[in-house]
Amino acid sequence: MIESSIFGVYEERNGKRRELYTKNLVPGMKVYAEKLVSKGQDEFRQWDPRKSKLAAAILKGSPNIGIRKNDIVLYLGCSTGTTVSHVSDLVGAEGFVFGLDSSPRVLRDFIFLCEKRKNITALLEDANKPLDYVDKVCQVDILYQDIAQRNQPEIFLKNVDIFLKKGGYALFAVKSRSIDVTKNPKVIFQQVRSEIEKKLTIIDYRTLDPFELDHCMFICKK
């Protein structure tokens, strides 16, 4: 197990494959069906790039995802918390993650995760309506968005504008099929790029295949 060049992310070679890990904030506790590995005092949770787009982006070569120890994160589209759990590991006990999702069904599972991890909380809200939760969060260092909506770039910029601090990082997972199934994903990613470039500096862009088809990740700075 070696420390990778990305803060808080560990790596191990398994034959030709690179495996990613984060240090488990709650040792002994699995979140999904991930592998746990103990090394000395520490326990590591394997980070599956097929279940988490952020892990996919790292394996596709993103040199910097912006997330540091003690950061405060607003995560739009947290679902049951697969990726959030690793972000929670990265920011550590003094950091914090606001997980937001509009589906009661997935948030119900996410709440059980929050009960086990003291550095996360759950909001049942529509990311399209930031004014509905402006009284439930604070300014954040990192904004992460992964929601399958036609107007996802617009939602992203709205939230960046209100909640992300100047100099903070904005991570944006885009699913081309939920914007337009008929168009070539590359064309859609290009449109999204020119839309978000007006407000943010894009510091990295990765397509996520073969882990996720027709998806990409933008890593931006405000």
Partner: protein, 283 residues
């Protein structure tokens, strides 16, 4: 110098023009009285004041409580219809799977009877209720190539047969349950589409409300999304119907009329759903 007031789930705060919190209280009215004409703060500017530990822990506890309450209140008729719909489908699958097994198992003992009856539900009912002699007589067979199994062997087969009978009965009562909900929740849809198609449409879209805002041309294709997207991407033949093809009026019609019938049924469903949904809104 103007002071600003800002309220969030952690409390009510007075913020001075230098963007510092100068007072807070759970009582907003008292704060307003104390600071006289306070103005509302611009959220974008003051959000940076709430990054401290004490606020984060308030945000955590309050948001968890609020979200739990919202989840509790989110449960509705659509959820109950969807769950019963899925339960019916799963019981159907399980029942078919176990019935096949029962046939194989029972055929060691009485293959002639298994061979003579095609209905799975009748088969398990009869096997659990009657003896081999009675069943052979019913089909007019004199003897059997089945082995003579002992009482413990037959008991084991019978336990499975009765379990299948019970699953079938449960499926039927679940169906009645769903039908009863829909009789008051969406009687027009129920009248046009029947229990299982109505439930499937609600389950697939998530709610009667969403269904009410979907155009009839889309309703026609719900359940055929894969074929539809393939058509849009590659220009393959477009699908003519999705779930609604299970409706009596379509599955019993000749191939070449199905497209037209599907369109008409979708239009009737769409109208019925709108009546049901908006009627519920005005009551």
């Amino acid at each position: 110098m103007a002071n600003y007031i800002f309220s969030n789930i952690a409390g009510n705060f007075v913020i001075d023009s230098g963007n510092r919190i100068i007072d807070k209280s759970s009582d907003a009215v008292a704060l307003r009285a104390k600071y006289k004409a306070v103005e509302h703060a611009d959220a974008k500017i003051v959000l940076s004041l709430f990054r401290g530990k004490e606020y984060l822990s308030a945000f955590r506890e309050k948001n968890l409580a609020i979200s739990k309450e919202k989840i509790r209140l989110s449960v509705n008729q659509d959820n109950l219809i969807s769950q019963s719909m899925n339960a019916m489908q799963e019981m159907e699958k399980v029942s078919n799977l176990l019935s096949k097994r029962l046939r194989e198992w029972y055929s060691l003992y009485n293959p002639e009877f298994s061979e003579s009856i095609s209905s799975n539900s009748k088969f398990s009912e009869l096997v659990s209720a009657k003896s081999r002699e009675e069943l052979l007589k019913e089909i007019g067979a004199k003897n059997t190539m089945g082995a003579d199994l002992g009482k413990t062997d037959l008991d084991a087969i019978n336990v499975l047969a009765s379990a299948i009978v019970r699953i079938n009965a449960t499926k039927e009562s679940t169906r009645e349950y769903a039908e009863n909900i829909m009789k008051s929740y969406c009687p027009n849809l129920l009248g046009v589409a029947g229990v299982s198609l109505s439930a499937r449409l609600i389950e697939h879209t998530g709610s009667l409300k969403k269904l009410a805002f979907i155009p009839s041309s889309t309703i026609q294709l719900l359940g055929a999304e894969k074929a539809l997207f393939r058509h849009m991407r590659t220009g393959s033949r477009p699908p003519r119907h999705g779930f609604i093809s299970e409706h009596q009026s379509i599955c019993s019609a000749p191939q070449k009329e199905r497209g037209k019938l599907a369109r008409q049924l979708a239009a009737r469903i769409s109208k019925a759903v709108k009546i049901d949904y908006f009627r519920g809104k005005h009551d």
